[in-house]
Amino acid sequence: MAEIIIQDEAQEIEAALEARGLWQDALRRLARNRPAIGGIAVLAIIALLTLLAPLISPHPFDVIDWDHIGTPPDLAARYFFGTDANGRDLFVRTLYGGRISLLVGIVATSVSLAIGVTWGAIAGYAGGMVDGVMMRIVDILYALPFLFLVILLMVMFGRNIVLIFVALGAVEWLNMARIVRGQTLSLKRREFVEAARAGGVKPLTIVRRHIIPNLLGPVAVYATLTIPHVILLESFLSFLGLGVQEPNTSWGVLISEGARNMEGAPWALLFPASFLAVTLFCFNFVGDGLRDALDPRDR
């Protein structure tokens, strides 16, 4: 009798050879989502272009060409996107700007993830007074005007790219913490968490081993939507003149300069703005796709 059962079970196992974890299932579903795959592809291309900028472009990014101040795209002179008001090649500056913008986006989001997830998970799991205090701190910080903070930091520590990462990360983690806390509250009630408590697992271990891995789904989605938000914030800062310093540039700086000369040299605004817009679209598609892919199957 037992052999009959084992035989059939063995067949079942052969029929589904690889262990299908929830991540693999999600990847499969994501692969079927065309806008998301398109978004990933385009983002990959943009990232590649920005990385290879010194190799692709015929002109260095910080050299002024006195013969070509504020000129439109000129294929003969290999100024593919034209030049900016200072005679520098816009194509290469756009790509270098992309480096900074993407870097800021990813690093600041990672910082906000690290702080936000830890903060939110601990507050949510601890509950009671600890939760109350931690979330009130978040509320207070949330109420502080973001710009004020950044200007303060700039004044204290000078204009520094690392500072921008920190400032932006410091703002975004608040939202992340709130979202993570909400997720934790609902996860806390699930039976497998109760089972871990009943097994004598320490609270911090439960948070690390059970809560955080099960949060990563919604967190991943939120992170891909935070990156464009951070890039926009950085652009805003740069627009106000508080962002990266010369000769470094970012899409925000380029857009700011381009906007100033919009009537005379529209290409100076158009190209960096398009790159920014396309990047934002792609992140949003990927975020949407991830959200659909990670939706747990109905059981």
Binding site: I13, F192, E194, A198, N214
Partner: protein, 329 residues
């Protein structure tokens, strides 16, 4: 009689309920003065319908919920007095299996990790190989294939998930396992498998079971003694066969007569004791005896005085003013 493994005295579990912004918070007495003993190798079945507090009782006994009052003596020590770290250490001997087999397993962990977690918690010195070996042995013992160790819970059926839960609960060789409706969510043909597995494990290791269920037939089969709860109070406690064959409390009698019998002649011939009315709200239990609003034998005494659990000749304990009159079936 040797010292009981578990000794519960006057246990009460209360939940504050706030109705409305300005209203005073009322108290839901989910468990209201429950006392019983549990010995090694014994199965105590806890039976009742929704709102009777059986799941709450099961969790309170393990201090997964904090009792409002009462004492829980575990191996002679007061469980309530233990600090957090000491309580966690005691948990290796008292485990629980849940009603929803799939929800009780972390969906992002493999079988091996789930079953091995208690080992990592309580025997941190064990190396990976040793853990894997013990996990594989436990899987074989509960009827799972060892080669499935790297699979994920959602790939398994309900019955198999329950076996995983049992393996996790049993791997440290506990002395007590609380089973919270362990077969209610399973198909009928699988229920018997799990019940048999639990009995076999009990026979092998002498572990005690607290078997919580609303299905009296299953409870009778697996339990040595049965405890019947109604609105958080014990109404009857006694030997399983006796409680089912000759129940003394009117509620128990109704439960027994309501249990469907897979036998057409007997099922149609039996005198069905249909209770009047509905379950009263646990927030506002009737005065005196909580069961009196549905009881065919209720009198004024029942409204005035709450009946105490008394020992009767057959070894049962009944909480009813009129149990003597409810002798016939």
């Amino acid at each position: 009689m040797s010292m009981p493994l578990l000794s519960v005295r006057d246990l009460a579990v209360h939940f504050p309920v706030r109705s409305g912004l300005l209203a005073r918070s009322r108290v839901l007495k989910a468990v209201d003065g429950v006392s019983f003993d549990l010995h090694e190798g014994e199965t105590l079945g806890i039976v009742g319908e929704s709102g009777c507090g059986k799941s709450t009782l099961g969790r309170a006994v393990l201090r997964l919920l904090e009792p409002a009052s009462g004492r829980i003596l575990w191996l002679g020590r007061d469980l309530g007095g233990l600090g957090a770290a000491e309580l966690r250490r005691q948990r290796r001997d008292m485990q629980i299996i849940f009603q929803d087999p799939l929800a009780a397993l972390d969906p992002r962990m493999t079988l091996g990790e789930i079953i091995g977690e208690p080992l990592r918690t309580h025997e941190p010195a064990l190396g990976r190989a040793a853990i894997e070996e013990r996990v594989a042995a436990m899987m074989r013992r509960v009827g799972l294939l060892a080669q499935q160790i790297n699979r994920y819970p959602h790939e398994f059926s309900g019955g198999q998930c329950q076996r995983i839960g049992i393996a996790r609960a049993m791997i440290l060789g506990p002395k007590l396992v609380v089973c919270d409706e362990p077969v209610s969510a399973l198909d009928v043909s699988i229920q018997a498998q799990i019940v048999n597995l639990l009995k076999a494990l009990q026979d092998e290791s002498g572990l005690a079971l607290l078997f919580i269920s609303h299905n009296l037939s299953v409870v009778r089969h697996i339990s040595h003694r049965i405890l019947v709860l109604y609105l958080g109070r014990i109404v009857e406690l006694g030997d399983a066969r006796t409680v089912c064959a000759a129940p003394r409390h009117p509620y128990t009698q109704a439960l027994v007569s309501a249990a469907p019998i897979p036998d057409p002649d007997r099922e149609r011939a039996k005198r069905r004791l249909v209770l009047a009315g509905e379950l009263p709200s646990p927030l506002d239990p009737p005065s005196g005896c909580a069961f009196r609003t549905r009881c065919p034998k209720a009198t004024e005494l029942c409204a005035a005085e709450r009946p105490v659990l008394e020992d009767i000749k057959t070894g049962q304990r009944v909480a009813c003013h009129h149990w003597r009159e409810t002798g016939q079936r």
